[in-house]
C-alpha cells in the first residue's frame, strides 16, 4: 500500500521548475527534501535556545544541551542503538572516515595500549565489495596505504549482486575489517548482511556497514544486524545538510582513538599530552552541529511516525512502477536486477542506461520535463565500470514520491531515444 500524498509537508515539492512545470523530484538518493517539522525544529532552536552545549551553566546552554542530547536519543532509537553509541559527524562520509582514520591512528600509536586492539599493519587485510560508494572505498584504500595492510574486495555479478561463493577465502584469518553497503546507491540491491556479518564474526573482523541507502528507506536495527559500526546521513533521511551519524558498539567506541582533535573531546590537556573523554564525546571535538542534530532528531521522529515498514512498502511499490515502466522502453537498460522476482530485495532506485545517449543528455531531457534525476557515476565508478559504462541516469524515491512521479519519469524517459534520433 502506498503512503498518503505527503507533498503538503514538504514546501519545496510545491514549486515549479523549467517551463513552469511542476517538480517531479526523483533525486532523493542524492539528497532528500525536508518536511516542515524539520525546518521548524532547526529554526526554533536558533530563535529560542541557541547556545554552546555541554559546557555552559546558563539557562540557554541547559536548554540547548537538552535538545541536542534528546536528538541523539531520537536518532539512536531510530536504529536500535543506545544514545552513547551515536556519534555526530558532518556526513556519512565523515562517519566512515572516523572509523578508518581511528584504526589508522591506533596503528600509528595514538591511543596507546587502550587502542591496541585496532592496530593493523602489513599482512593484515581490509575487505570491501565491488558495489561500494566511493565513501566506503576510498577511506579503506587510504588506510591500506597508511598501514601497509592489503585491500581486497568481494566481486559482484552481472546484475550487481555480491557474490558469496569465495567469501571464505576473501574474508579470512587475516581480515581485520569488512566494510560493505547495506543497499547499493546504483542498483538498489540490499546486501546479504547476515551472511557477511557471520563470516566476519567467524574470523574476528570488525564489520562496518554503510547505512546511507538503508536507514532512510527501511527499518534498520543495528543490534539485530549485529554489526560493529554503521554510517548514516541526515540529509538523505529528510534531515538537514551538514550532519550524519556513526553508530558504534559502545565498547569499541570507547577504545577507538579519535581522528579529529580539539576541545570538548578531551579530559585533561597539558602542553605535552592529552587524555580523551569517553564516547561519543571523544569523537565530537569542537562546537557541535547542534541545530543540525536537532533537525536530524526531528527527521527520525517524522519517519518513525510514518512507520518504517510502511515506508519500505511504499518505496517498493514506487520502484516496481519505475522498473516495470523502464523495462518496456526499447533501448533502455536497467542497471541491477531485472524482472519481477527481484523487486523483493531492492530499494526505490532505478538507474538506467539509454543506448546511444549519454546520461547527461538523458538527464537534460528529463529536466526539461520537470523530472529531476541524477546523472553520472553517482560516486560509484568501479560498479559502473563493471557494468561497462561510465555513468547512468538514476531515479530514486522517498516517502513523498507518488505513483504519478514514477509514471512521469517513465514517460519522459520514453521520449529520450527519439529526441536524440537513436533507436529508430
Amino acid at each position: 500500500m502506498l503512503l498518503p500524498d505527503l507533498r503538503e509537508d514538504f514546501p519545496l515539492l510545491n514549486r515549479t521548475v523549467r517551463n513552469g512545470k511542476p517538480l517531479v523530484y526523483l533525486d532523493s538518493g542524492a539528497t532528500a527534501q525536508k518536511p516542515r517539522v524539520v525546518l521548524d525544529a532547526e529554526r526554533d532552536f536558533y530563535e529560542q535556545h541557541n547556545a554552546a552545549v555541554q559546557r555552559g551553566a546558563h539557562l540557554l546552554a541547559e536548554e540547548a544541551t537538552e535538545l541536542f542530547e534528546g536528538a541523539r536519543t531520537d536518532v539512536a532509537s531510530f536504529v536500535g542503538a543506545g544514545p552513547d553509541e551515536i556519534v555526530w559527524a558532518e556526513n556519512a562520509t565523515a562517519a566512515l572516515n572516523l572509523v578508518a582514520s581511528g584504526i589508522g591512528n591506533a596503528s600509528a600509536g595514538i591511543g596507546g595500549e587502550d587502542s591496541a586492539q585496532f592496530r593493523i599493519g602489513p599482512g593484515d587485510e581490509i575487505c570491501v565489495t565491488q558495489t561500494e560508494h566511493h565513501a566506503n572505498l576510498v577511506p579503506w584504500q587510504a588506510l591500506a596505504t597508511r598501514t601497509g595492510a592489503t585491500l581486497r574486495w568481494i566481486p559482484v555479478d552481472s546484475e550487481g549482486r555480491i557474490i558469496l561463493d569465495d567469501l571464505d577465502s576473501l574474508v579470512n584469518d587475516r581480515t581485520r575489517v569488512l566494510a560493505f553497503t547495506h543497499a547499493s546507491n546504483v542498483t538498489g540491491i540490499i546486501s546479504p548482511v547476515t551472511a557477511l556479518v557471520a563470516r566476519a564474526k567467524a574470523v574476528g573482523a570488525l564489520t562496518v556497514l554503510d547505512g546511507c541507502q538503508s536507514v532512510p528507506h527501511l527499518p534498520v536495527d543495528v543490534k539485530a544486524l549485529d554489526i560493529d559500526f554503521m554510517a548514516m546521513s541526515a540529509h538523505k533521511m529528510l534531515g538537514p545538510t551538514g550532519i550524519g551519524a556513526l553508530y558504534g558498539r559502545k565498547d569499541l567506541l570507547d577504545a577507538l582513538p579519535p581522528s579529529i582533535f580539539g576541545g570538548g573531546a578531551v579530559k585533561i590537556v597539558s602542553m605535552e599530552e592529552t587524555s580523551w573523554l569517553e564516547a561519543p564525546m571523544r569523537f565530537e571535538a569542537g562546537s557541535q552541529p547542534v541545530a543540525q542534530a536537532v533537525g536530524m532528531g526531528a527527521a527520525a521522529r517524522y519517519l518513525s511516525a510514518l512507520g518504517m515498514d510502511r515506508v519500505e512498502e511504499h518505496e517498493r511499490e514506487i520502484a516496481a512502477i519505475m522498473r516495470a515502466g523502464v523495462a518496456e522502453i526499447p533501448g533502455v537498460r536497467l542497471l541491477g536486477p531485472v524482472g519481477d522476482a527481484d523487486a523483493r530485495d531492492v530499494i526505490g532506485v532505478a538507474a538506467v542506461v539509454v543506448d546511444g545517449v549519454h546520461p547527461h543528455d538523458v538527464g537534460q531531457v528529463l529536466d526539461d520535463a520537470g523530472v529531476a534525476v541524477r546523472v553520472g557515476h553517482h560516486c560509484n565508478q568501479p560498479l559502473h565500470r563493471h557494468f561497462g559504462v561510465t555513468g547512468s541516469t538514476r531515479a530514486s524515491a522517498h516517502v513523498y514520491t507518488t505513483a504519478e512521479d514514477a509514471h512521469a519519469f517513465v514517460e519522459a524517459l520514453a521520449g529520450v531515444p527519439a529526441f536524440f534520433g537513436v533507436n529508430r
Partner: protein, 152 residues
Amino acid sequence: MSSLEQMYQQVIMDHAREAHGRGLKDLDLIQVGESHQVNTTCGDEIRLRVGLDGDTVASVTWEGQGCSISQASVSVLHELVEGESLEESERTMEAFRDLMQAKGEGLDEDREDLLGDATAFVGVGKYPARIKCAMLGWAAFKDALIQARKDQ
C-alpha cells in the same frame, strides 16, 4: 526562596566553606579503592579513597578542587557514609541520585531521612548543568568502592 537560594542553602554553604573528609588518609586496610574523576565542563578534579573493613565503609577521604556544590556534596558524602555499612551506603547513593533526578522536587520521607543534610541538595536538581557537580564525589565513591572490592 528563589531557585538560586534554594540551591545554595546554608547547609551547603557551610559544607563548602569547611569541607569534611578532605585529605587522603593512608589506610592500613586490606580493601582500599581509589578513584579519580574529572568534571569536563570546568576541569575540576577529585580523587577519593575508600577503605572497607568487612562490611563497613571504614574510611572515605578525598582531595581536589571544585565549586561549592561539588565540595559540599563530597563533604556531605563523607559525613553520611563513613562508618556505615556497605548496604546502607548503597542505599544512600541511590537516594542521592534520585534526588538529583527529581527536578527540584523532594523525595519520600524514608529516603530523605537516609539523606539527612544531603536533602539540602534538592535545589540542584533544577539545574541540569550542576547535577554533574553534585555527583562528582559520588561518582568517585561508587567507582572507588568497585576498586576496593576488587582487592578482595
